[in-house]
Amino acid sequence: MRKFVLNYLIPRILQYFLVIFLGVTITFIIPRLSPVDPVEAQINRVMMSGSQVSPDAVISLREALTEMYGLEGSPLQQYFAFWGRLLRGDLGPSLATFPTPVTTLLARAMPWTFGLLMTSILISWIVGNILGALASYYEKNIPIQIVDVLSQAVRPIPYYIMALLLLVFFAYYWPIFPFSGAYPPGTQPNWSLSFALTVIRHSTLPLLSLVLIGVGGWFIGMKSLTSNIISEDYVVYAENAGLRKNRILSQYIMRNAMLPQITGLALQIGLIFSGALIMEVVFGYPGMGTLTFQAVMANDYSLIMGITLLSIIGVATMVLILDFIYPLFDPRVRHQ
């Protein structure tokens, strides 16, 4: 147990903090390297809007903005202040919907993205792995070969284009799914069954686009992993012992091939998350992606900053949780 904690858990936790440290530092440095001064840009925007602003008001506005962007003091002081605000959970007010705090907007959008992302990752991971294992175990099966070709053809298509294609086909030419949103405009989110059903109906297309692209990767990974395991001695032994084929596949082959796939999941989460963000924009799904899009359109700097920071922490935490779950599947890690 001691060894497990020292050799497995502690390095993972250190890695977690390193990711967050690097991410936050990059997010801190980027705006300061940019040639655009966010304070001046903001003031210009206010002045351009044509309203009469007295010089005194501009000075106080400049002071307020400088404080809000955390541009006071030396770079080192700014850096520590940046961390201080982040640790207190204070991401400042949103500029476009002043004075709503950024955290409120994020809290509203988070559950949508989280729910959709989790569901799609689970479905595509499970389906991809089962199909991949079947594909290499029953190599000559025609339907499985067709799935193989299809999933390979769909996999490289960028999320945005995939989402657009699904939207055009299933909401425009053959309107069986709603065009956008997660629920009809005007309804209030609540916990009733009918509302849950509308949400499911609205989420089908976004989910489908994530799953379709996701399945291919797990499928191919699992197929090549299983094809290596199939020729192992213990599989041949199990076959000669007359075990049922399904039992060999699930207990002897898939169980062993699954482990690298779990590690793969940890490596892919950042990419899948990015894909989900852009997919939301196409479907107008009320999560973090749409929030990002609105923030970009409204020039809401503090909101974009908040989204970036939350994404880094969120993705890193998901990876850490996966690392914690991993020993449950791999007894070798537990008992080393």
């Binding site: 990711v19 490289p156 960028p158 940890a266 950042g270 924009v281």
Partner: protein
């Protein structure tokens, strides 16, 4: 190289498809040299014409011939991918080879940085960056930036290759005969690593060109420059679907599917070719 291409064309169906798709793409990119229209100029041809013999992809609401405009878009997207590939390759080879060859503390430090970059969600960071540089982000800059984020997967792969090369006899011979570490990695190890680097470069192209599409769709890249992403952005801006000008959106999607599928099939075919066991099985030896 030529014999390799010939072998692959002969034995691998995926490679044949990829070859045809990519040849179409490259020819389009090369055609820009003889383009009759300047992509910056608008209202050179009648607006909103559906695809015809004269205008293979139709024309858009800005009076541009979509075929020629897409030719420039393909060229620029490929350029971006190549810039990103060069930058990320340099970092990945450096990190991978140093970490693999030196091992120990250096390896552990480099690999934890490497793993952190793998986990970081690149898109939000790039959105923040492009947002601040809006209007000032050139194709070159975007390429370099993507390169700075696109190396960690390859870094790890190269490291694992070097780790096994380090244990081979020829490395020991080189060390005992007094070859410097720099020469060993550059002259002895690099040639073994390069095939892997080539295969992952294709993957890197897919990633960076896809990223550009994503950023452009949000209007965060230089939208005056034709790329696959800005083509979609322009079409959305003019509500091409609502106006019934479906070919405006159809052209970039068609090109993107050809390009991405071509690159991906090339990647999986080359990847298998590099592994001699699967190559022999395929040829039937």
């Amino acid at each position: 190289m030529l014999t390799v291409t010939r072998d692959l064309l002969k034995y691998d169906g995926r490679f044949r498809v990829a070859f045809v798709f990519l040849v179409i793409i490259v020819i389009m990119a090369l055609l820009t040299v003889v383009s009759p229209y300047d992509p910056k100029k608008t209202f050179m041809v009648p607006q909103d014409l559906p695809p015809s013999l004269e205008h293979p992809f139709g024309t858009n609401s800005r009076g541009q011939d979509l075929f020629w405009w897409m030719a420039f878009a393909v060229r620029n997207s490929l350029m971006l991918g190549i810039i990103c590939a060069i930058v990320s390759r340099i970092i990945a080879i450096f990190v991978g080879m140093v970490a693999g060859y030196r091992g120990g503390v250096i390896d552990r430090i480099l690999m934890s940085i490497n793993d952190s970059f793998v986990v970081l969600p690149v898109l939000p960071i790039l959105i923040l960056l492009s947002f601040l540089l809006r209007g000032k982000m050139s194709l070159w800059m975007l390429g370099v930036l993507l390169g700075l984020f696109g190396w960690p997967w390859d870094g790890r792969l190269i490291r694992s290759q070097v780790l096994s090369l380090k244990e081979r006899a020829f490395t020991r011979t080189a060390v005992y005969s007094g070859t410097t570490p720099l020469l060993i990695t550059m002259r002895e190890h690099l040639p073994f690593v390069l095939p892997v680097v080539f295969a992952t470069t294709i993957n890197n192209l897919l990633w960076s060109i896809g990223m550009e599409v994503t950023l452009s769709v949000l209007g965060l890249s230089d939208v005056t420059l034709p790329t696959i992403g800005t083509a979609i952005y322009r079409a959305n801006q003019h509500q091409a679907l609502v106006a019934g000008v479906w070919w405006w959106l159809g052209a970039p999607i068609l090109i993107a599917v050809l390009l991405f599928l071509g690159l991906y099939l090339l990647f999986s075919s080359v990847n298998e070719f590099i592994d001699p066991r699967t190559r022999l099985r395929r040829i039937g030896a």
